[in-house]
Amino acid sequence: MRAPVKLDFKPLSLEQTAKELGIPRKRALKIMEMFGVEGASRNGRRVSRRPHTAKTHSRSAKASR
C-alpha cells in the first residue's frame, strides 16, 4: 500500500465551495442553513457559530432573531 498523499491546500470557504460547485448564492445560503451554519448571513459573510452572549445588541444577534 502506498503512503497517503499529503494534501497541500487549505479547504475553500463555503462561499468559494458553492461557487466551485456552480450553486447560485441564494440556494447556497439555504443549503448552509439547512446543515446548521447559521452564519450564512444576508451579506454573504459567515459569522461565528458561537452564540453571542456578551453583546446581545450586536448586528449578528439581531439578524438571527
Partner: protein
C-alpha cells in the same frame, strides 16, 4: 480548463444500491477539504469530451470499481463506465504526472480478476461499508491541517444522510443521482466540515 488542487473526480456507479457509499464518499472527501466532481448532469453528444475535460480539471481521481456484477434491468449488462473513465484518467496521468488516480474496491483481490491490466496497483478495499469508504479515503490522503478522525466523519455522514431527503425534496428530485442534488450534498458536506471541524 484550470486544474484545481482541491478538485477530485469521483467515478462511482449511479445506482440506488450505492446510495450509502455515495454519501460516504461525499462526506469523506469533503471532510478532507476536497470539492468532489462527477459526471452527473453531463449529457449530449459531446459527453465524452466533457468527461475528459472534467478529469483533466481535477488533480486527483477516485475510481470505485466495486460494481462489477450485472445490473438487474434487461438486457442485463455489466457497467463499463467506471473502468472506461479510469482508463481516461490513467492515460491523462501518463502525460501529466501531477494527476494522481486511486482505485477503490469492496472485495480484496477481485481487481486482479476483473481488471488484470492493473496488476501491481494497490486498490483501497472498503468492504462495501460506509466506515470502510471513510477509512480508505483516510488511507489515501492526509489533509493539510489536522486529519479528521473516522468517528468525526461518521458523525458528518449521519447528518448528511439525515438531511438528504430534504435536499432531494427541495430539488424536486426523485433520485440522489442528479447534478443538482449532488452539488447540494457536496455543499452540505462542506458545511458540516466547517461546523464540526472548523478551519483545521
Amino acid at each position: 480548463m484550470a486544474k484545481a488542487k482541491e478538485a477530485v473526480f469521483l467515478n462511482i456507479p449511479y445506482d440506488p444500491q450505492f446510495t450509502r457509499l455515495y454519501l460516504a464518499y461525499i462526506t469523506a472527501l469533503s471532510a478532507m477539504g476536497f470539492v468532489p466532481k462527477a459526471t452527473l448532469g453531463i449529457t449530449g453528444n459531446r459527453r465524452l469530451d466533457r468527461i475528459a475535460s472534467l478529469i483533466e480539471s481535477c488533480q486527483y481521481s477516485i475510481h470505485d470499481l466495486s460494481r462489477v456484477q450485472l445490473d438487474s434491468h434487461q438486457p442485463r449488462t455489466p457497467r463499463f463506465n467506471m473502468p472506461f473513465e479510469l482508463g481516461l484518467a490513467v492515460a491523462w496521468a501518463k502525460e501529466h504526472r501531477e494527476h494522481q488516480w486511486f482505485v477503490f474496491e469492496s472485495t480484496r483481490h477481485r481487481l486482479n480478476k476483473s481488471l488484470s491490466d492493473l496488476d501491481g496497483t494497490d486498490a483501497y478495499i472498503h468492504d462495501g461499508t460506509v466506515r470502510g469508504v471513510i477509512r480508505e479515503v483516510c488511507n489515501a490522503f492526509v489533509s493539510a491541517g489536522n486529519q479528521p478522525t473516522v468517528p468525526e466523519m461518521m458523525k458528518m455522514y449521519r447528518e448528511l444522510r439525515r438531511n438528504a431527503p430534504e435536499v432531494m425534496k427541495r430539488a424536486g428530485a426523485l433520485s440522489m443521482f442528479t447534478a443538482r442534488v449532488f452539488s447540494d450534498l457536496c455543499l452540505g458536506a462542506a458545511t458540516l466540515r466547517s461546523k464540526h471541524l472548523g478551519n483545521r
